[in-house]
Each structure stands twice: as structure tokens, then as C-alpha cells.
């Protein structure tokens, strides 16, 4: 579904990604771990198409198409969803309006007609229940005045409504207490499907106790330096990233 080949990207003239290779298949859950500044969030944002990052080399093939030439909206319409590390507050735009516009744009791409108000509401209610979200939230402005936990939960709620093919979760666990973490993880697990791939970017192993990955990769200094199964995450948790860097230097 997703092939990342030797991807290089920089921001403000500074190279952050220095040749990332990653292959993600339908139904897979991948975790990308790594120390601060390793390029985890940059990778997530580049895949979503943020234009502050300049891609300087490599390619990304998504479902047989070149991803890097696509606009952010086209990527979303083709089924890519980024759960933001820092969801943006948008005063004056209600969650309801925002989500409906998003969903109908994606449906249009799929050749479907707009959902009518009743069907949309029914869908939204079902997903709100899943994430334990209060209905009053739908009439509030997008993320405005939300707590950190509410924002993250709202991201997963949006993901549940939009049902992407490829979901990228950028540090969705940071800043969450254990109750909120469970709710978010349950929401993500409910979306696991053989038709959907999930890439979890995280600094902490803790999340992976709840969202158990099929593959774990370690990103360091802009490259994936180690890949393994779920046991790699536990090893990292035990030994920290220092061990890995020493091992790399030894090689």
C-alpha cells in the first residue's frame, strides 16, 4: 500500500530525513519509534503533505501512485489520514460543519453522494459513542478551548468518521493520562481491519501495550536504523535509545 524509498526532506535548509525506507502493507500496524529530533513527526507531516518541509530526494508510492506530487487534500481524499500531534484550533468553524465538509470531500472522491443531514448525524453519533465524546462537542469550534486529551480524542473521532485506508498517528499518546490513552487506543483498535494500514509514531512504548503493532521501526537521525517485531519495542523500553546508538556506532 505504501512504499517509501530513500526519502529525504529538510526544513528551513536543515536536513531532517536522510533516506527513509519503509514498506507498509494493507492490514499492517507499524510503530515508528525514536528519540526526540529523530524525524518521526517530520516523516508523518511529509506523508500528509505539509509544505513547510521540502522533499529533497527519494519517492513515496501510495497505492501505485506517486504521493509526493499530490496536494494535501488529494492525499486525504485518497484515504490518508494524519492524526496531528498538535491539533489546530479553528475558531468560528464548528466541528459538525468541518467534519461534514471533510467527509463529503472524501466521499466525492470515492464516487459517492453527500451524506444527508440525518445519515451524517447517525454516523457521528455512533462514532462519538465509540470515543466517549459528548454531543455538545459537535457544535463547538474545532479544537477551540479543548484540553490536550480532548484534542487527541477528537483526532481519533475524526479518523473513525472518515475511515481512512492509511492512518498515521503522530504521537497521539503524548500528554494523555492512562484513562484517556485507553479510550484512544480502543478507538484505534476498533478501526483495525485487513483493509486498513496504521502507522503509529510514538516516543513511548506505553501506547504499544494497547495498540499492539505487527512491526516496530526505530528512526534515528533521519533513517530507520532497526526494524523488528513487537518485542523490539519492549527492548527499547528496557534499554532506552542509548543502547541502540552505541550499537550503531559499533557497526
Amino acid at each position: 500500500m505504501l512504499e517509501i524509498k530513500n526519502l529525504r526532506a529538510s526544513v528551513a535548509g536543515k536536513e531532517i530525513l536522510r533516506g527513509v525506507d519503509l514498506s507498509v502493507k494493507k492490514g499492517d500496524v507499524h510503530a515508528i519509534m525514536g528519540p526526540n529530533g529523530s524525524g518521526k513527526s517530520t516523516l508523518a507531516q511529509v506523508l500528509a503533505g505539509h509544505d513547510i518541509y521540502k522533499v529533497t530526494g527519494g519517492e513515496v508510492i501510495y497505492e501505485g501512485k506517486g504521493l509526493l506530487a499530490m496536494s494535501p487534500e488529494d492525499r486525504a481524499r485518497e484515504g490518508i489520514f494524519l492524526a496531528f500531534q498538535y491539533p489546530v484550533e479553528i475558531p468560528g468553524v464548528s466541528n459538525m460543519y468541518f467534519l461534514k465538509a471533510a467527509l463529503n470531500n472524501i466521499r466525492k472522491q470515492q464516487g459517492l453522494t453527500d451524506l444527508d443531514a440525518m445519515d451524517f448525524l447517525a454516523l457521528v453519533r455512533e462514532k462519538m459513542k465509540l470515543l466517549g465524546i459528548d454531543e455538545a462537542l459537535m457544535n463547538r469550534a474545532v479544537n477551540e478551548g479543548f484540553s490536550g486529551g480532548e484534542k487527541k480524542r477528537n483526532e481519533i473521532f475524526q479518523m473513525a468518521v472518515l475511515e481512512p485506508k492509511l492512518a498515521i498517528l503522530d504521537e497521539t499518546d503524548s500528554g494523555l493520562d492512562i484513562d484517556a490513552l485507553r479510550v484512544v487506543a480502543d478507538g484505534v483498535n476498533a478501526l483495525r481491519s485487513p483493509e486498513r494500514a496504521i502507522v503509529v509514531v510514538t516516543h513511548y512504548q506505553r501506547l504499544l501495550n494497547y495498540i499492539v503493532p505487527d512491526f516496530v521501526h526505530v528512526l534515528s537521525a533521519g533513517r530507520i536504523v532497526k526494524s523488528g517485531g513487537k518485542e523490539l519495542a519492549l527492548e527499547l523500553e528496557k534499554k532506552g535509545y542509548g543502547w541502540l546508538e552505541e550499537e550503531l556506532q559499533a557497526v
Binding site: 500528509a48 503533505g49 505539509h50 496531528f84 489546530v88 484550533e89 479553528i90 468553524v93 463529503n104 470531500n105
Partner: protein
């Protein structure tokens, strides 16, 4: 090209020719015309007019319109009418048109009439307040209006009377208004504990240069509540100069919304005098301009008495090569202790060539006051744009969504829902000009 003196002469000629209906008003008119002659049109050398050059306006000898205005039909008015109003007064090229107006039975204690009809039975409000508030001494345009106005609206609400639905005063210019000037005049007077909403709109046709010089006086009696919405939607070659002057008695509440969308050059002066203790005044404003439009708001909140509160929220959206001006004066007089004033002006520049001059102007002579002000000028938030796009909303649609959200902060304060919805639709239509809505929103 005619000299400015000749232009002024043409106004004097019209002054001589005008109808004289209210003898009691004549001395005021004579004096106002004299004052107009002394002041002349303002130039950019005056601090208050530094950024607004009215030279193009003063180069044309605008005349009074011919008595028969052609081309305005009921259907033309559809886009300007507002649902669920208590009364509608329509003025075509400055003259009351009973045929287009809707003055159905109003509750006792409510008077909504054309000034022409009111001259014959003026009553206390008209004689006591007409031209007693708006400043003819210092403002040439107010002086000119006062000297020349032929018609307009009088709205009077007696003590204790609450009119829930708004009175709509609609000034429409005929398609053949080229080269003409009108001086619309509105007077709103509320008694003690009374309540009223007034919507004043100015609409005109595209492609014709005309001049509207409007003055509105609002007098809010003790503990009364007045909400005024002015919608300026003149044609794209028109000049609109408007003065809104409010005078508030003790514990009264005044809310003004100034929505300025049209005209080639629009200048709005809003002067609000809190003349009684505990008065509250809110000034909301939204201006949107594109192309070569110029829009200027000069507001002045005059805290003359203690314990008054003012709130001012102005927002502007400027595109193309348009230019905007916001000058917000807050005056706190010596005895106006416990004044509480908040002012905010936010501007969105959608193009690199659009400009805005924004300036607070605080004169505080009391010591126990709270006055805060803030102004911002910026582009659309890039993070918010990306967030919307990352959810599948296209670039142009995302820009529109954010721009409308920015404007809705002001429009959402309009309490008459049909008016608010109409404003939102009009704003959307203007923002969407040249944009093909192939995006799903």
C-alpha cells in the same frame, strides 16, 4: 475639470432650490450650509482624513436626483429585503416610496414614518432631537446632509414599549442614479425602558457613480435598548459617506453593527456618547473590500459619565488592491470613573497589495478606568489551512471557510437571525466572486 469652488457652488445652488417643509428646521439648515461653506470638503491634510482622499468625490458636481426615479421594481428589492420585520420603509433615490414600503399596523407607542410625512405633525422627538446630536460644526458632510436632506426615516418608541422585530429602513438608488447625490437621514428616539432594533441598508447598482451622504442619529432614553445594523452595499462606483451618532441616557444599551461591503469609497464615522451613568455601548463592525475599494471606519466612544462600559469589535477582510482604515477613539472624560472599555480590530489581508491603516486613539482623563485595545493584521493561519486540507477540504474551500469564520465572529452578534443569515450569504457571494465552487463545502 471643474474647480472645487464650482463644485461647492453646485451644492449651494441645490440648497437654494430645495423644498422648505419644516420652518422650525430652517435656521439649523441655514447655519449648517454656512458651516459647510466654511469647512469645505476635507483634505488629507486633516488628521481625521489622512488616509481617505475624497478628491474624486469633490471633483464631480453631484446633483439632486430628478423627482422620477426609473427602473426600481419590487423585484429589484428582493435581494435587499429582510424577513420578519415589523415595518419596512423604502426610499428610492432619497424619496419615500409608500408603494414599496410595508407599514402594517404597528403596536401602540411605535411610530415609523418618513420624515416627509412627519413634518406636518413633528411632535416632541423630531423637534427636540433632529439635528441636535450629529455634529454640523466640525464635519462638513454632516453639515451638508443637515442643510440638504429632503426625506428619511423617523422611528419613535414610547416609554416602556418593546418592539421585538426590527424596523427596516432601505435606501435604494435607481440604476440611472449616475451623477446624483442623496442625503438620507434617520432619527431613532426611544423612551424610557423601551426597546427597538433598526436595520438601515443602502443599496445601489453597479457601474454608476453616485454619492450617498447619510446621517443617522439615535437617542436611547433611560434604561432603553437600541440595536442598529447598518449595511452598506452601494454600487461599485459609488461614494458612501455616513455618520452614525448615538446619544445614550442613563443605563441604556446601544449596539451598533456596521457592515460595509460595497462602494468604491466608503467612509463611516460612528460617534457614541454615553451621556448617562451605567450606559453600555457595543460597536461591532465588519468591512470587506476587494479590487480598488477603499473603506474607512472612524469610531469615537465618548465616555462622558462614570460606570459606562464600551465594547468594540471590528474586523476587516481586504483583498485585491483594496485599502482599509480603522481609527478607534476612546475618550474618557474627567468624571467618567469606573469606565470599562475594550477595543479590538483584526484584519485579514488576502492579497499582498491590500493595505490597512489601523490606529487606536485613547484620551483618558479619569484615573480609575480600564481601557484595553488591540489590533492585528495578518494572513490566514497557515496551520489551520493545512489542517483543513489534510482532512480533504480543498485549498480554496479551506481559505473560504477560514475567512467566513473570521467574519462570523462579528456577524454572529447580529441578533435578528434573518438579517444575520442574509449578511452571511452576501459576504459569501462577495468572497466567492471569481471562485468556482467545485469544492464540497
Amino acid at each position: 475639470m471643474p474647480e472645487i469652488a464650482e463644485i461647492t457652488e453646485s451644492y449651494f445652488a441645490d440648497f437654494t432650490r430645495r423644498e422648505r417643509r419644516a420652518a422650525w428646521l430652517e435656521p439649523l439648515r441655514e447655519r449648517a450650509m454656512e458651516r459647510f461653506g466654511e469647512l469645505g470638503f476635507p483634505t488629507t491634510r486633516l488628521e481625521d482624513w489622512r488616509f481617505t482622499n475624497v478628491a474624486p468625490l469633490t471633483r464631480t458636481p453631484f446633483k439632486m436626483p430628478s423627482p422620477v426615479a426609473d427602473g426600481v421594481t419590487e423585484r429589484n428589492l428582493d435581494a435587499a429585503r429582510i424577513e420578519e420585520v415589523a415595518a419596512l420603509l423604502v426610499f428610492v433615490d432619497g424619496v419615500f416610496e409608500p408603494g414599496f414600503s410595508r407599514l402594517r399596523t404597528l403596536p401602540a407607542g411605535v411610530r415609523a414614518a418618513s420624515l416627509r410625512d412627519a413634518w406636518d405633525s413633528p411632535g416632541k422627538s423630531l423637534q427636540g432631537h433632529m439635528a441636535r446630536h450629529a455634529d454640523t460644526d466640525r464635519n462638513a458632510f454632516v453639515a451638508l446632509n443637515t442643510a440638504m436632506f429632503q426625506d428619511g426615516a423617523l422611528i419613535e418608541i414610547a416609554n416602556g414599549v418593546v418592539l421585538e422585530k426590527p424596523v427596516h429602513v432601505l435606501f435604494v438608488r435607481a440604476p440611472n442614479a449616475r451623477g446624483t447625490v442623496t442625503h438620507p437621514r434617520v432619527l431613532v428616539v426611544t423612551g424610557r425602558d423601551a426597546q427597538v432594533k433598526v436595520i438601515e441598508s443602502h443599496v445601489g447598482s453597479a457601474g454608476t457613480a453616485y454619492f450617498t451622504n447619510a446621517v443617522t442619529e439615535l437617542v436611547a432614553g433611560e434604561n432603553s435598548s437600541v440595536e442598529h445594523l447598518k449595511l452598506q452595499e452601494e454600487g461599485d462606483e459609488a461614494f458612501h459617506i455616513g455618520m452614525i451618532h448615538s446619544h445614550q441616557e442613563r443605563s441604556s444599551r446601544f449596539v451598533s453593527h456596521s457592515v460595509s461591503l460595497g462602494a468604491r469609497l466608503a467612509r463611516h464615522d460612528i460617534i457614541s456618547v454615553m451621556a448617562g451613568e451605567g450606559a453600555e455601548c457595543t460597536l461591532n463592525g465588519l468591512y470587506q473590500a476587494g479590487g480598488n475599494q477603499h473603506v474607512d471606519h472612524h469610531t469615537r466612544l465618548d465616555h462622558a459619565m462614570p460606570h459606562c462600559a464600551s465594547r468594540e469589535y471590528y474586523r476587516g477582510i481586504l483583498d485585491g488592491k483594496s485599502s482599509g482604515v480603522f481609527n478607534g477613539a476612546i475618550i474618557v472624560r474627567k468624571d467618567a470613573q469606573k469606565t470599562d472599555a475594550i477595543q479590538s480590530n483584526k484584519n485579514l489581508l488576502l492579497s499582498e497589495e491590500a493595505t490597512i491603516n489601523t490606529k487606536p486613539e485613547l484620551q483618558i482623563l479619569a484615573d480609575d478606568v480600564r481601557c484595553t485595545h488591540g489590533a492585528t493584521v495578518g494572513q490566514l493561519n497557515a496551520d489551520a489551512l493545512f489542517y483543513l486540507r489534510a482532512r480533504g477540504i480543498g485549498f480554496e474551500a479551506a481559505r473560504h471557510l477560514l475567512t467566513r469564520a473570521f467574519a462570523n465572529d462579528v456577524l454572529s452578534r447580529v441578533t435578528h437571525i434573518p438579517a444575520r443569515e442574509q449578511l452571511e450569504a452576501k459576504l459569501l457571494a462577495r468572497l466567492s466572486a471569481g471562485w468556482k465552487p467545485e469544492e464540497v463545502l
